[in-house]
Subunit: 425 residues, 2 copies
């Protein structure tokens, strides 16, 4: 079924309401085009804070805003809830699960999902963290593990429930590990009768020689030190070779654990495969210097879906600021072409990187300025609050954080969804 | 598998962490007993505000508090996450899905679920509102209906998506209808491009001659007037005879609708059936004047699971204050018996009833004092904030409400969980 058409202006379709897609649509708000923003979800998700939902500090709606609300005042934009299954760049048509859609210009920004390095069977044992459902699944597993421990009389089995393994020492893994350790050592204290929650082990495993590999070495070392200070065991330089319901094997070692979280690899959304374009090893579309699929100046691929090289040959990283810049760039190019103007190549401006570790620790790399510890955490907090897109949420998120900080409580400790019997083997 | 035992004091098992169970456990905090509080959920749910989650105004965690946190300082109490499948009053044992548990005293407080008056096949078309999952399902259906309307070019089909039917004119139905009408007329305004959200119809259907049947007639009339003022169509005195995916039949009339919500009947939790006790028509246990199963002075049944008659023959209503009083009463009786004291019969003290309708309207019945409109709404707000059990939540809930009140926004407009293609037929 066709989607109703609103006018005869050039039709820009933006697929994906993440950072890239949203900034592309907003960048065209004054252009003489009509925009259709398509997402299979009705909300924009502030992914950098997703781990806070997984660790019961924030609610889903604290980090998500309905896409319709974000663009409600943008008269040239319609939002439709739909899933795109394929793109035909030749006929300029998208196939939806329940319809189709033609375009004059297309911005593809459907992002990435997790990758298990050729071991899809690990997914059931080690959920990743990309969606709200993922975050709620992780929250459920973590909370259920403590519940199961309370009811488990066998000390060995209980130790398995109280061992949490995070695979992948990038920002998400580091953030998850810090938050989990805090939950065990602070939030859960006094809540259980048959064990001491602070006896829980949180183990962070990274295949490369250090955590936060893209950061300067001094900051990686600082991060590992801060993690250990929080009680996290950090294992680097060894690859995980096996994951099952009761354990993880790393190198020669087998660690008994009932809760494994995956923060290791990502791969591009499968929509990339329908384009007929060249993909890199992670399934990302190899775009040209204008973020176009070669030969298709009307087709932009941005954000985590695209493999983009900087002038010096280094890849543009898969972070929110890069997606935002690409979205703004695509909007500017489309507006220029529509106005009969000239195009310019994309240039990525690195504004620095930040990662947080628990409630008052972190690392920050702003090129010449490097921060760690409490100062880095404050910088992280300020920047994230500033950028939270659901404008309503700023005040509420700050309230929740302030409360959590002062009381060590986590407000969203609910196990929702299907709950299996706790004592499963 | 047995649950670890902590001591040799008399063992009180409380099943259910709702109002009744929680107040029973808290009432025994200084008694020389050991208490095991069992729930299949890890949180206490403030059910009177569940419709606010269903209508996207509050987050699940705003109206729920982990049971462990609530009783964390109560040293004589263990909390276990488990589902009780049957009770054997003779051997004083409970069977769990994954274990068993014996007791000296038992307080059963597992509440009620919805009842479809012999039409279980209606459930798939008309979800009820008892759990957080129910509330999220309703939220999803309501939000998806607007999304589908945006994409539906056929005016008749679109009208079906924009017609919301609530079956049952008790407090929950009245609250849902008021909130839905507000969403359509205020929250969604400017969000859609192909229709005017305020054209949505919200229809409240009640089989008895008036809404809020247990209230005084003047308040029922006031409630109906306030609902109509908010744009709700109120149909009373006619029974629903058919519900399917596309319509509802009431009397001779068929209403085309894609979204039907069930707020009509409840029946007791099925655990009641395993007791071997007399049940009433709604499946509730017919207890004696001490809230005991006859012949079992150690077995209390309280809250929505029990059918209790007052001295004048009228039933004790299935509301939170009644469950709280029953829980406190059961605790007092157990403490008295353990201390070798005397028991007293249960007496219900009716403190009045309140229902809210939209953002600044309501009715209140405090016996001689009857309120309606804005004053009733303020009374409702004050009492609900005061009683919110998750102590942390008060401040945050007030913030959310203040924000929603001032801006007409609803912060939790997320469609989570499995989303099917929007344009289904």
């Amino acid at each position: 079924m066709a989607v109703p058409e609103l006018s005869n202006l050039p039709h820009v379709v933006v697929v994906g309401g993440g950072f890239g897609g949203l900034y592309a649509a907003r960048g065209l708000r004054r252009a003489p085009v009509r925009i259709t923003l398509v997402d299979r979800r009705n909300y924009h998700l502030f992914q950098p804070l997703l781990y806070q939902v997984a660790t019961a500090a924030l609610n889903p709606s604290d980090i998500a805003a309905p896409i319709r609300s974000v663009v409600r005042h943008q008269k040239n934009t319609s939002v439709i809830l739909a899933e795109v299954t394929s793109v035909d760049p030749v006929s300029r048509r998208l196939t939806l699960i329940d319809g189709e859609l033609s375009y004059d210009y297309l911005v593809l920004a459907t992002g990435a999902t997790h990758s298990y390095f050729g071991h899809p069977e690990w997914e059931q044992f080690a959920p990743g963290l990309k969606t709200i459902e993922d975050a709620l699944e992780i929250r459920k597993r973590v909370l259920l593990a403590f519940e199961a421990a309370e009811r488990e009389p066998d000390p060995d089995k209980r130790a398995g429930w109280l061992t949490f393994v995070i695979i992948g020492g990038g920002p998400t893994g580091v953030e998850l590990a810090g938050a989990l350790s805090e939950i065990a050592r602070q939030t859960m204290i006094r809540d259980f009768r048959t064990f001491d929650p602070s006896s829980a082990r949180v183990i962070l495993m990274e295949g490369l020689p250090r955590v936060l590999p893209p950061y300067p070495e001094s900051l990686s070392e600082s991060a590992a030190r801060q993690l250990r200070h929080l009680g996290v065991e950090v294992i680097t330089g060894a690859r995980v070779t096996e994951v099952d319901a009761h354990s993880v094997r790393i190198g020669e070692q087998r660690v008994a654990t009932r809760t494994v979280l995956w923060a290791a690899g990502v791969e591009a959304s499968p929509l990339a495969q329908t384009l007929g374009a060249r993909l890199d090893r992670a399934g990302r579309v190899e775009v040209d210097g204008n973020l176009n699929v070669p030969g298709h100046p009307e087709l932009f691929v941005i954000g985590d879906l695209a493999a983009v090289k900087q002038a010096d040959g280094r890849p543009v990283p898969g972070v929110a600021p890069a997606a935002i810049q690409a979205g703004q760039y695509a909007a500017k190019q489309i507006a220029a072409v529509v106005a009969g103007g000239k195009r310019e190549p994309f240039r990525y401006l690195d504004k620095g990187s930040l990662a947080t570790i628990g409630r008052a620790a972190g690392v920050a790399d702003f090129g010449r300025v490097r921060l760690s510890g409490f100062v880095a955490w404050v910088a992280w907090l300020a920047i994230h609050i500033f950028f939270l897109i659901g404008f309503r949420n700023r005040f509420l998120v700050i309230s929740q954080w302030a409360w959590a900080y002062l009381t060590y409580q986590r407000g969203a400790r609910l196990i929702t969804g299907q709950v299996e019997p706790v004592l499963r083997d």
